[in-house]
Symmetry: none
Subunit: 290 residues, 2 copies
DNA sequence: CGAAAGCCGTATCAGAAATTTCAAGACAAT
DNA sequence: ATTGTCTTGAAATTTCTGATACGGCTTTCG
């Protein structure tokens, strides 16, 4: 495994560039392989050796010799490199897709913002509409009680959700994730309850335990998590994954915030008939006069 | 939107779309596979069955059943389809990244997301770089105590900020905005303290009062608010406004979240020498073993 | 012209990957 | 409780792919 060699191009340049550069040094068969690969780069290299060789009009061993000469230990490694290159290339345009970009703002801020925006886009595109709608229906069911919970950081999001839903409808609760604080409340959780759990990586034991306990009691569990899915997924009825990776030592919860706000908006609209008077009442309580 | 729509998919369009559509008909294992695939679409499906299954946390046969259910005769055919789809998509850059596209996602969700993203862009573009940097410097000053506070909804953001900064540095506090809860704490607030207040429209009396009291004691006030500026602006030393308007009965705090996370990232980087051991210590406490 | 060197493809093998089988477990309905 | 259905993963099986050895062929150079 001397993978430390020069296979991975340091600059953003692709393998294709190196192939063009070394083209003269190839044998005739290798040139045929190289030309095929470049003409359909990199897809031509993604099926089997036999297929690749046949399209190039050469034999399988020649194709093997070709990739070996490029510095790969074998065909699978060659394909892996192509896939990774492709993935990187496909993802970057999204981040750079801000047109009028000469944005000022601290450089740290604007590049961070780009990453967050890319996350939001990716998050929305990967949500199943039915999943989202099903959750909206669930949270709009006034016969059910709703409980929000989350971990160290995501707990704040759970609170954020709770503080909105509390106004839109009744029977909305926030549960601290520490077992000592929910053990006794668990007796009230049953088939008609909905648990909305927030949990992203460095998944938190107590949130998992809470969700599993609630599921065991027959409650419906809704999970907001990262794309790698918290273990809570095992007991969750519905899952909304959000992308969280940003250039920071921390994960970003902006995607979870987006989903939360979208849920709040949708449920508010759905329950508008009953939500409106509630919101007005709250407004009146805050401004007793005027 | 009937003209100039996508030319990419002549057949049943993207497989991803179909998966989202049939999501609720899947078994739990299939859902895990589906979520993995969608979260890294389509690259997650380009490895071997074993790899794919392992990442999804299911067994190889379950992964096989998943692709079979999608209508493919086997895994290789499934992968071939993914590759072809990818190639088609890459060849027609117009097909993707079109801003106002009729993308999937619940319509409510995607239009909501578009508004949020527009807000984030506008927010970043209107931040004065010096302002952002000055705040980072302020929060990176370890001789100062930092206090976060916020209102009904924004309080959750203040907590979110606090839970991160608490790990990055010492002397970080959260203050409840109810006067009864901060009156006595005010005697400890002085010239060396920093108050970070979150307040958006329907500006909240108690947050304003708290901020003004702190300012009167000589504390430095940092304000995160909406573009119309909370009254706190009069006593604030630094202001970061975020756009909040979305198609909903509520305002969106996603911009505030973005700014918060950007501040956390910047300060963490700035204080890395001392933040790193702190973060490691926290990690060790959470995982006493391993 | 002859010989050496290198290049290429056929045939074959080893091993990995996909697929099928099957039994255990979960769940719902009765 | 009990049965039947559905789901799942471990293990056995099959298929197929990537890799290699070897001999023929072409090219090159003395």
């Amino acid at each position: 495994m001397r993978s430390g060699n020069n296979v991975a191009s340091a600059d953003g340049s692709s393998l294709a560039e190196r192939i063009r550069h070394e083209m003269d040094a190839f044998t005739p068969s290798e040139k045929r392989a190289a030309h095929l690969l470049l003409s359909h780069y990199p897809f031509a290299g993604l099926d089997t050796v036999a297929e690749f060789a046949s399209r190039a009009g050469i034999s399988a061993p020649s194709a093997l010799r070709f990739v070996t000469r490029l510095g790969f230990s074998g065909f699978p490694e060659f394909q892996k490199h192509l896939r990774e290159e492709l993935e990187a290339q496909l993802l970057s345009p999204l981040a750079k897709a801000s047109p009028g970009d000469k944005s000022h703002g601290a450089p740290a801020l604007s590049s961070f913002a780009e990453a967050v925006i890319a996350n939001l886009t990716a998050t929305v595109e990967n949500i199943a509409p039915t999943e989202f709608d099903a959750i909206v229906a669930l949270l709009s069911d006034r016969r059910r009680h709703i409980h929000f919970t989350g971990g160290r950081f995501t707990g704040a999001l759970a609170r954020y959700a709770e503080s909105h839903f509390r106004i839109v409808r009744s029977d909305v609760h926030f549960i601290e994730s520490q077992p000592a604080l929910w053990r006794d409340r668990m007796i009230e959780i049953g088939r008609k309850d909905v648990i909305v759990s927030y949990d992203i990586r460095r998944y938190q034991e107590d949130v998992i335990a809470l969700s599993e306990a609630a599921a065991k009691q027959g409650a419906t569990v809704v999970l907001l998590t990262d794309p790698w899915l918290s273990p809570i997924a095992r007991v969750a009825r519905h899952i909304l994954p959000a992308h969280v990776t940003v250039p920071s030592n921390w994960d970003s919860s902006a995607g979870l915030m987006l989903l939360t706000e979208a849920l709040v908006a949708a449920v508010t609209k759905h329950l508008w008939e009953t939500a409106k008077p509630r919101m007005e009442a709250v407004e009146r309580l805050r401004n007793p006069k005027s």
